[in-house]
């Protein structure tokens, strides 16, 4: 259930260059919840001392052999399914970015740099250029780190209004302003005559529907499409305004940062996930790409009756949650509500024994809002920052490589393989994992290798028309 997305708001918030490593794949909680649910059904009395914050590890130790095998088999099956579910949006995002880079020259034209990368790369010596790009990358990464920590602090101290305001302003900026620029450049490229009134209508509709889909409710496909579009827009901005060496350095450093932030115990992203887990909340649906429908209502608002019923049956109730409040209102009541809920729960269903089950049931309910016959259907979530950085890598490869399409294709395959591996690791470890490091490493290695080694070789082969 928890996903990490955290950083996106920071850069969406008009500070064009911040990207956040919000990359986490987590279907972990989904998986762990399911496991817990399965376990609890079979052996209800065996987990009296399960931790309330539901660490998967404690359950794993108590699993019976047979349960473990069945779970693993399901895990693999769902792992395979998740691969498909994530390949398509990542591919789509990259395709959109590459198509735009190849056709609209605006995004490859150098029109200055952002204030976060003040040092220019047009220097006389290579050493100076290297130094400047290192400084640029350092500034950018520190801004990102500061913003992440700020976000975690805000989240910890329950300043939900601030976070939501920030998110809304960022998505407003992306959906209206950036798409207006994008549309304008596309029209310029294809020499399409257009009047302001039509453009205003188009952008208004696009933006408003986007805001509704992302921040409130909307058809799953539409929400996914919008998330892909804003990721692509953001990636294009980065490709345009980041100079070459700076971009590669930032990509490398950000995957290291992602690794550290997610896996270290004191990492900000890990703290974010754990806090969200403790509070039993979803994180910022506006920043996570989810492959299944996620209700934006606060799960704790559900009818305690439903919780009890669900925890008693092994199947999930498909009842829709009682109130579908707006995300902002719901979130604002989080702090107080959770305590009430806890009291109610304590009164009605009694303490700790039920906690894993009811928690599993409650967390499972929203995820199953799609009418799926398969009660164990789980989605996987990928942060939007991942989409953005993957697309930045592939976009930069297609914009600046001498090998052109070969390099782009190689980076594309490398990123997909990295994603595959990360999903595999996710299925094995069942906790939130950073999605950037493996893919970006493969992508960078393949970019430089293909551009410098493979391209001359393929060129010569094509010249002589030899085939390998």
């Amino acid at each position: 259930m928890t996903e990490l997305s955290a950083h996106l708001p920071q850069f969406q918030h008009g500070q064009l260059t911040e990207n956040f490593p919000d990359n986490h794949l987590s279907n972990t909680n989904d998986n762990s919840e399911r496991r817990r649910h399965d376990n609890s059904e079979r052996r209800r009395n065996d987990n009296p001392e399960s931790e309330t914050n539901g660490q998967p590890q404690s359950n794993i130790q108590q699993v019976v052999e047979q349960d473990e095998e069945e779970d693993e088999e399901l895990t693999l099956k769902y792992g395979a399914k998740h691969v498909i579910m994530l390949f398509v949006p990542v591919t789509l995002c990259m395709v959109v970015v590459v198509a735009t880079i190849k056709s609209v020259s605006f995004y490859t034209r150098k029109d200055g740099q952002l204030i976060y990368t003040p040092f220019t790369e047009e220097t006389e010596t290579v050493g100076q250029r290297a130094l400047n790009s290192i400084l640029n990358a350092a500034i950018m990464i520190s801004v990102i780190i500061v913003m992440t920590i700020l976000l975690v602090v805000l989240y910890k101290y329950r300043c939900y209004k601030v976070i939501h305001g920030w998110l809304i302003i960022s998505s407003l900026l992306l959906l209206f302003f950036f798409s207006f620029i994008y549309l304008g450049e596309v029209f310029k490229t294809y020499n399409v005559a257009m009047d302001y009134i039509t453009v205003a209508l188009i952008i208004w509709n696009f933006g408003v529907v986007g805001m509704i889909c992302i921040h409130w409710k909307g058809p799953l496909r539409l929400q996914q499409a919008y998330l892909i579009m804003i990721s692509a827009l953001m990636a294009l901005v980065f490709i345009k305004y980041l100079p070459e060496w700076t971009a590669w350095l930032i990509l490398a450093v950000i995957s290291v940062y992602d690794l550290v932030a997610v896996l270290c115990p004191k990492g900000p992203l890990r703290m974010l996930v754990e806090t969200a887990q403790e509070r039993n909340e979803t994180l910022f649906p506006a920043l996570i790409y989810s492959s299944i429908q996620v209700w934006l209502v606060n799960m704790a608002e559900e009818d305690p009756e439903a919780q009890r019923k669900a925890s008693k049956n092994s199947t999930y109730d498909k009842q829709a949650p009682a109130n579908h409040t707006r995300n902002e209102d719901g979130e604002a009541d989080d702090g107080g509500f959770s305590q009430e809920w806890q009291q109610q729960r304590d009164n009605r269903i009694g303490p700790i024994e039920s906690t894993p089950e009811s928690r599993a049931a409650v967390q499972a309910l929203p995820s199953n809002s799609q009418t799926s016959e398969d009660p164990e259907e789980r989605g996987v979530k990928l942060g939007l920052g991942d989409f953005i950085f993957y697309s930045v890598l592939v976009g930069k490869a297609s914009a600046t490589a001498s090998g052109d399409w070969n390099t782009t294709l190689a980076c594309f395959v490398a990123i997909l393989i990295g994603l595959c591996l990360t999903l595999l690791l996710l299925a094995i470890f069942k906790k939130a994992l950073p999605a950037l490091p493996i893919s970006i490493t493969f992508g960078l290695v393949f970019y430089f290798a293909t551009d410098n080694l493979v391209q001359p070789f393929m060129d010569q082969l094509a010249f002589h028309q030899f085939y390998i």
Partner: protein, 227 residues
């Protein structure tokens, strides 16, 4: 249904894995070629051509080696899946994997050969204006197509050979690959490269079909639309 999904997921993953393996083999072979070129005199044309030929042969051998490595990886994966599945049979058979693997290799190889050409074909220009062959794009297209098909069939043959320990099949695949690549050395004399390649493709197709359990009877039944 879950099985079907696992199958699709496994094939997609396998396809990209296969593409990745081909890419790595290409990378390594171009690394070797690059080193050789840098270590030699760039103005010596015959030497450069000789080095290129060496690069091509080495690349072919490396591709086949990676195909073998991929086979080993798939074997392990399928064993793992079989061990975990309820009814003792894996959701995807080795033949299907062989086919997907072959297609993956072929697609990647074809894409890499063709895509820059296609991009250039979109732009302005005249084919063969400096006296080269005017059929460049056409023959490239045919050559790429035959290679993709060949990779698919070779995948099936190779995996079958590995499964049943028939070294004859494996060596046949390697020799065929070397032959096809070698035949392209007589380009732009396209008769020398395209015709043998297509003949080899027909032979490989028939062989792969027979190995996959087909027969002349099946074919006749299929063509005459009998059930």
């Amino acid at each position: 249904p879950a099985r079907g999904l696992a199958q699709r997921g496994a094939s997609r993953c396998s396809l990209s894995c296969r593409a990745f393996f081909w890419l790595v083999s290409l990378l390594l072979s171009s690394l070797i070629w690059f080193i050789a070129v840098k270590a030699s005199d760039p103005h010596d044309k015959p030497l450069q051509k000789g080095l290129l030929i060496f690069g091509v042969m080495f690349s072919v051998l490396l591709q086949e080696a990676f195909r073998f490595l991929y086979y080993k990886l798939l074997r392990k994966a399928i064993e793992g899946l079989v061990a975990l599945s309820e009814d003792g049979c894996s959701p995807i058979s080795i033949q299907q994997m062989a086919y997907v693997a072959g297609v993956g290799f072929g697609l990647m190889s074809g894409a890499f050969s063709m895509i820059n050409l296609l991009a250039d074909a979109l732009g302005p220009g005249t084919v063969g204006i400096h006296g080269d062959s005017q059929l460049y794009f056409l023959t490239s297209a045919f050559m790429t197509m035959v290679l993709i098909f060949l990779h698919t069939f070779w995948g099936i043959l190779f995996f079958h050979g590995c499964e049943h320990r028939r070294w004859g099949e494996i060596t046949a695949v390697v020799v065929m690959h070397l032959a096809v690549s070698g035949s392209t050395f007589c380009n732009p004399l396209y008769v020398g490269s395209l015709v043998p390649s297509y003949l080899l493709m027909a032979a490989a197709a028939a062989w792969a079909y027979l190995l996959s359990g087909g027969s002349a009877q099946n074919l006749r039944r299929f063509l005459l639309c009998k059930s």
